[in-house]
Symmetry: C2
Subunit: 107 residues, 2 copies
DNA sequence: ATATATTATCGTAATATTGCAATATTAAAT
DNA sequence: ATTTAATATTGCAATATTACGATAATATAT
């Protein structure tokens, strides 16, 4: 075996885990932070900015895209994309909600 | 090749990614949520609660322990532990801070 | 239409993760 | 000291992730 038993967990838990998995790599954290802090759209400076090979950056971007965090135009020369704000805020709320429930009486 | 190039990223990015990696599995999300919502300490009902084998739960707990989210007694019969509140709040702030910086002018 | 620049995809190697059976360790109770 | 119950560790198989070279696809400019 060795495959995640996703079926025994709730949809909510699986979704939060899936988002966390995208954030579970420093390159993707760096990419997300860089894009989210740009004034407008991104145009092909990520490879220089991050320091990984172009195919690797492309793959990381694809992972981020999969959870809906990017919008814009992706393919061809001069790609132009940015953070999907609605999704960004949605994920922010998801993490906030996860962290805001904790009981304080403890050993 | 095939190993993460952690050295090319900032400490902050690596640390957030490391925490996200712990959250990147539905079992660990479920475990964290369950423990954090308990009134007091946990005493050996996680295996029934989650539905994975005992060694697997033990390994997941160990991952959570590594990032400092658990405190209490871990070994032997009747283990007794709970969420480390300080660390929990620290991580909450880290995610909050990550998500709170985003520019709104976009394509 | 061709050349040029940019991003995507394929293939592959190295490593990491996930899960559990078997076994070991630990601590309390008898 | 033995037994018993609970957790940890080991070993291993299946799968997933990470990275990049080579190559393909895409789009703009000439």
């Amino acid at each position: 075996m060795g495959v995640s038993k996703t079926h025994i967990f709730s949809l909510q838990h699986n979704e939060l885990a899936q988002v966390a998995k995208v954030m579970a790599h420093p390159a993707r954290i760096a990419i997300l932070e860089y894009i989210s802090k740009q004034e407008g759209c991104i145009c092909n400076d990520l490879v220089d900015e991050i320091g990984l090979a172009q195919p690797t950056i492309s793959q990381h971007l694809n992972e981020i895209k999969k959870i809906g965090l990017l919008k814009g135009t992706y393919e061809g020369k001069n790609l132009c994309y940015c953070i999907n704000q609605e999704r960004w805020l949605e994920l922010q709320r998801a993490f906030q909600s996860f962290f805001s429930n904790i009981n304080l009486n403890c050993c």
